[in-house]
Symmetry: D2
């Protein structure tokens, strides 16, 4: 039985609270939030209690901390968990600034506590199925990868302004998937992008529609398109072509119902938003961390993985601005 | 908040215990089983307690009873719930014998307690999507219905010997779906069947592979094939052709991953067994009953629905033996 | 080089003329039609000439006759071909009356001329692919067969009145496919049908929507649904379940174009009519006959095959009227 | 009736000979080839005759010339057709060198003869369906285009050495499709590529696996991946995302047959080679040219279209070598 405390009682904290409460191998010790009332309300819903900041990091009652607070607080909580000798699972990113993130990872690594970054998309049923095919050689040597990450509608401009840009905010999840699927590091990246949905995005140097092209160590080529607003729902798709075949993680549909009419067949569409598609992945990621803790194995997605995805995103952001192919430095 | 007690701690009781514990509008009072140790073990797993038979039907502490005990005990528990004035949700069937089932339904109905039969397949995402299309006229007037219910492997012969036959044990769920999808009553049925998988099934007058053909009030025609052992997984499929189009609830696949090789594409297969496919439906059925209770609405699937499905199964069993088209008497 | 003469310059004669002209191993000698002007016009279009009835059966200039004239004339032309010692390919049916058809087949068989009945659906790309899987044991022993034959719109009532009924006019093609796919003879048949599209069809004892259920020698069960008017295009579908798997010849779509919109994906529909789907099969059937002639092999679909499909249709028509399972007598 | 002469009796000339012979509105005057015996043989097969070079361009007997000879002879034949005042349909490319191609196009255009470049992929059923959806606004304003052009196996190195490179030899067809589908001109292009299949390709500065990223006038972004050897057949796929939806021209399969086994469904694969997929497009392109000639309309794909696709390919080749985004100059 692992005793977990949760930090953060917002939208994503609520998702994690549900999973912490439901996992049979977890004792859900309590929830801390800077807004205490919010922590109390959420705690009541899942039969646990509100914690102070000090209680969260008390090794007498807590084995592991789940950090789901606002992005700018991840680093400090990671350091506290390391100081207290607690296992820690953390939402992305480690820290908005790459240099700071590196410092935190060094600190936590030196402490020796088990730490996992919540790259939940690795637990998408279909992406995981594709990864298994690729890693066991089911399509031969990887030669060409195509990924699409497309949201249904533009987030608010105020959010986008502080998001770090499309590469760091949206594409970064696919930079991680790419490393995980291929087992290779990308060495360079070029990006072409436009602000097609809302030209005001260009004012702060960002884009809403882009294509990143990466080259892997082996010379294999990768294209990742990122879209902020599709008009047709939430769309993720991956295909990996190798020397002997191709494997595809197809667009997900919301049902298997089809209506045949004169001249056309109307089938179920994509999910309306990202949450409807990725919801099952959070519980699976948590279960994987618990399993690793119980077995004494390394976490399936490490802070180092987080750093590397962030380093790719930083190079991609540079490439978008320079218009040139940029080398990726880890 | 509805206070539920559960009767039965076997396989299906365990499924219901999980859903009773997870439903935010349910207080899970406890579990009764003839094997008390089993009830205690299950109760411990879900943070509730073991109940005596008397405690289950105590209106001071219980609002609703969920009957998931062995088939031959459903009738007596239904009567007890009625006597105690408790709402009741019951696994199929009401009673193995149709006449006895009718008597129980009359008794419970007279008592006025809310009662729902757990026709969980009505909560299958795809079948439910198809039903909505049909009932809102999306394919015009129903003219031809095709249903497949096919299990992956033969149940044990000892089970089959007392199961009541393929029509009563397997096809009956689709007799209910048929009534629910079309909003019509079938008036006659003919059946052709064979014991192809295991000829010893024929010794007790049963079959493992069959086609039932029914005629609805409107003259629309229905074919339902039932198979005990497919060799390729658990297979359910429904299509409804109407005067203006066709709607299909397709075979479900376990993922959206496909591997393209020379000359062939290998895609994900069907579910290995029935439980993998229908698992999500139980929680949805329970939630629908709770919603009806809270709103004071009639249960979405009544005991009367159960009787009617059973009456069709009985006529189908007669038809299988007579080789003739049999009228269905409700 | 095989020298072919064609009898019949109507719609289907025109289809065959095109294929006779295009086949590199055929010398297209000419066309006969009772309406000579029509034969002349068609002959001009394909660079051949109009023939008298006598010229068609002249072994000095003709090796093979293709009979595509009206149904009631097939028998007499088959006898003439036999008398002249010419190979003969004939449109279905041999003769509307089964006894007469038997007499013609005996006569032609006794003459020893190569003869093929144009069961063109055996050359449908997908149905043929399914047949190969079944016959090489790809799904094990056949246990359950499901076939759908559904036309887009009701033929004229005057046509239906003299068509011989849905079993003989429409379902008969699938009785042949069934024998060809399974390599087995059906032994009995039951049929349920309704006149749902136009009740006046019932006045002459016919139906427009029906389900035929057959049992094969092995005990395997077959369901064939036949529909005159779908509302959503021309629909053929076959699936064969065996002891180890299932093979499906899916609905054909007119393209691979799909439009993803909010909440729904609109895909290409079915063919508007039968001809759009089956058109490629005629040339393939002709080519198969020519190949058999050149190699001295028996025709891939014999007149005897035609008799047997007709015998099944006759039993099915009896079953529709009697409401009972009827034995099939070949 | 249009009187056509064909130049070239090789593989692609044979394809065109077949279509010229089959088109009801064409009188197939004859065939010229530098190897006269080859012309004679092909002419005999399609009931026409061998022509001298002079006879091909004789306006007394010929209305239109189809140029299907070797690539380096297109330019001279185009000029001859212009001199003779004959309509001309020409295989791609106009001339290997862009400057020379421009000179030829100016020459032919000045002569006023109707001229069409055989961009046959515009007549692919599915790509054409997609184009119609895009051009009538079915997905809103174009924002992101994804195209895949992937051959099954590496052409001989000797061929690749003189092919002009992957952009000019393979991707060029998709540069044309891109302009035709979107109705826009690309303004810049960047390319990343590798020689993964055969490193010796890199010796002459070429690649076998590449991704070209283009920006259209509107800022819309395009990614085109080109692959010389897939290992899983011939693969073309296009999707166009617009401001309101997405339209997809899916991978083509060779049949609609699927086999369901334990754990997997095996479906039909892609075409073994390019010819199996594109074969029907040649006749459709020819028919479109004849229709334009008869109606006095401009050709549906002009020599100018050819120049523009070639200009994009030239910029893409520069971009592949420079590693930079290159402006496209028409």
């Amino acid at each position: 039985m692992q005793r977990f405390a949760l930090i953060g009682a917002g939208f994503i904290g609520t998702v994690h609270a549900q999973n912490l409460a439901a996992h049979p191998g977890i004792e859900f010790v309590g929830i801390h939030d800077v807004a205490e009332a919010r922590a109390q309300e959420l705690a009541a819903r899942f039969g646990t209690r509100s914690l102070s900041a000090a209680e969260v990091f008390d090794p007498a009652t807590v084995d592991a901390v789940f950090i789901a607070s606002s992005t700018d607080t991840h680093a400090v909580h990671l350091r506290s968990a390391a100081d207290a000798g607690l296992a820690v699972m953390c939402e992305k990113p480690i820290a908005p600034d790459l240099a700071e993130a590196r410092a935190v990872v060094d600190y936590v690594t030196a402490s020796g506590v088990p730490a996992m970054l919540d790259f939940n998309r690795r637990y998408d049923r279909d992406h995981a199925g594709l990864q298994r095919v690729v890693r066991k050689g089911g399509v031969g040597a990887v030669e060409l990868v195509q990924m699409s990450t497309r949201g249904p509608s533009l987030p608010p401009i105020e959010y986008l302004r502080v998001s770090g840009g499309q590469m760091a905010d949206q594409t970064v999840h696919f930079f991680d998937l790419l490393r995980w699927i291929t087992g290779q590091e990308p060495v360079s990246v070029a990006v072409q992008g436009s602000a097609l949905v809302d030209p005001s995005i260009a004012e702060f140097g960002d884009v809403d529609t882009s294509v990143a092209t990466l080259t892997l160590e082996s010379g294999a080529i990768v294209e990742i398109d990122s879209v902020r607003r599709t008009g047709y729902g939430y769309d993720e798709r991956i295909e990996v072509m190798g020397s002997t075949g191709l494997v595809e993680s197809r667009r997900n549909r919301t049902s298997n119902v089809a209506v045949y009419g004169a001249g056309a067949v109307t089938e179920a569409g994509l999910h309306p938003g990202w949450f409807e598609r990725v919801q099952p992945t959070y519980a699976l990621a948590l279960a994987a961390f618990v399993e690793a803790l119980e077995a004494g194995h390394p976490a399936p997605a490490t802070l180092e993985d987080g750093l590397r995805a962030q380093a790719i995103a930083e190079a991609a952001t540079r490439a978008l601005r320079s218009g040139r192919t940029e080398a990726i430095e880890y």
